[in-house]
Amino acid sequence: MEDVILFLFFAAFTVGCAVNLVLQKHPISSALSLVGVMGALGLIYLQLGGEFIAMAQLIVYAGAIMVLFIFVIMLLNAGVEKGKTRNLWVKYAGLPLLVALIGLIAYIVQNVLPRGPGVNFGAFQHGNAYEIGIKLFETYLLPFEVTSVLILVAIVGAIVLAQKEIK
């Protein structure tokens, strides 16, 4: 009961923010609504039992990545979009395509997914930091290390790209 209400609330919030992201003309509004999406998603993760991943969502996505976005938007002082889109057919074909996409996925999910017990808060116990850590550092150790290297590369690349040209 409470689960359903909570879920519907957060889902509505998420979708609202997402739509806002798409519709808002100003990048910073979009960025803020994306933050909203992420926060609500984090709460939904909590409901699904993913404590750790919810916090990671909060820290990594909302706390770090989006701040970076907002930072860049502020730096470039990006204003509202102006002018109309050039290739019109995207504009007109896009919405039907979108609806088709959602409808299809919903249809498939409804039909394919075997009927199982629904989600109740606290039913899933494997999402705590301990078990995630065990999984991460035993089963998925190699991917983890590879990811760290990837991040290192990304840092270097970002610095190289963003630095002023040394004349």
């Binding site: 933050v35 706390g63 701040v67 930072f71 502020m74």
Partner: protein, 395 residues
């Protein structure tokens, strides 16, 4: 009793206590700094200016709330709320004491005992950036924008050392729930050295503690890291364009952050509500003695007063003090109050450190600030974390 009702009551209590603390924290700050600078500080409103906070609140409430032109209204209004929201919600995972039982009800002195409380705090401190950044951006003022940019950059930069400094004791205590953290710090070495994290083997976390403190100063935009509101460079930083209650909410957010950070430091490093020396050496009489002394002093001042109505106020205060001190002797009350006392004492010490530093230190230059974060604190934090992990792994 119903969970919701209980939580509501607890929330109300915590909120009230927190608000009062914030208000009087600011009064204490003004007093302390005044005495550091050989002034007397506020003393007009009420005895020793004790009613100053109230006056300030009234002033801020009744001030004209002006809306500058060309601001982005939504975010201009949103920013203070974001700031204060994330600042206040952080307190909800802080445990103030052990389990207590009043009559039939048995509950913890804590709003929510998440078993990822530490991560929660980290996440919120990350979110806190938005308030400042948005305020700076939305209020369409170059000083405000610079302040916002600065503060967000500063917060992001100091987030890393802070997170690492937090991670080190977690490695040793091996939990993410504040309550278990504190429980893991119970007991004493050789009977008298407390097993707090800063004393605990295999690697006493003194470095982490210092790193955490410094990073916390930066996170809360306090002196010497209060670049975002460097008056002499950017008029008032990110809240240049804010007035009345919105300004007050930024103010409140800053102080709430201070309180949160001090509580977190207490829980992580100073053993939470565990007394500084064991009870068999009579630690349970410490609060009594302290309050007694306080009460006697104020009574003494009341007997030969500086001002007329000190004759009335100070003895009353003294009586109250002594009464509180006496309350600590009642066993049932003591079980509830002692942990609170120790917790508050430790957190208070750190808060006093904040004020002390503010009264003492000059402000950094911005480049110095950044260099300090990235070339000094970050490496040390990494090394500290590495050594801790190594020692924990070896033992």
């Amino acid at each position: 009793m119903n969970f919701f009702v209980l939580s509501l009551i607890k929330a109300a209590v915590v909120a009230f206590v927190l608000m009062t603390t914030l208000a009087y924290l600011q009064w204490i700050e003004r007093k302390v700094i005044a005495h550091i600078q050989l002034r007397v500080g506020p003393r007009r409103v009420g005895p020793h200016g004790l009613l100053q906070p109230l006056a300030d609140v009234i002033k801020l409430l009744t001030k004209e709330d002006m809306l500058p032109s060309h601001v982005n209204k939504i975010f201009y209004f949103l920013a203070p709320f974001i700031a204060v929201f994330f600042a206040l919600i952080a307190i909800s995972v802080i445990p103030f004491g052990t389990e207590i039982s009043i009559g039939p009800i048995k509950t913890a002195m804590q709003l929510a005992d998440l078993n990822i409380g530490v991560l929660f705090i980290l996440g919120l401190s990350g979110m806190g950036v938005y308030g400042v950044a948005l305020a700076g951006w939305a209020s369409n003022n170059k000083y405000a924008l610079l302040g916002g940019l600065r503060s967000s950059a500063q917060m992001i930069s100091y987030e890393l050392p802070m997170a690492m400094a937090i991670a080190a004791p977690l490695l040793m205590l091996n939990t993410l729930s504040f309550r278990q953290l504190v429980d893991a710090q119970a007991g004493y070495y050789f009977g008298f050295v407390p097993r707090w994290t800063i004393f605990q083997g295999p690697f006493p976390q003194i470095f982490s503690f210092l790193l955490f403190l410094v990073a916390a100063f930066a996170e809360t935009n306090r002196v010497p890291f209060d670049l975002p509101e460097a008056e002499n460079e950017l008029v008032a930083g990110f809240h240049t364009e804010y007035s009345s209650m919105k300004f007050a909410s930024f103010f409140m957010a800053e102080y709430a952050n201070m309180v949160t950070v001090s509580c977190v430091a207490t829980l992580l490093f100073l053993g939470g509500w565990h007394p500084i020396f064991p009870a068999e050496y009579g630690s349970k009489f410490v609060p009594t003695v302290i309050f007694l002394i306080g009460g006697l002093i104020s009574i003494y001042h009341g007997l030969n007063p500086a001002r007329a109505f000190d004759r009335i106020t100070l003895p009353i205060a003294g009586i109250v003090f002594i009464a509180v001190g006496a309350a600590f002797l009642i066993p049932i009350v003591a079980t509830i109050l002692l942990p609170l006392f120790w917790f508050a004492a430790k957190a208070g010490v750190i808060l006093f450190l904040y004020i002390w530093v503010r009264g003492t230190m000059p402000r950094f230059r911005y480049d110095q600030l950044m260099r300090f974060a990235w070339t000094f604190m970050f490496p040390i934090a990494v090394v500290n974390l590495f050594v801790t992990g190594l020692l924990v792994a070896l033992t």
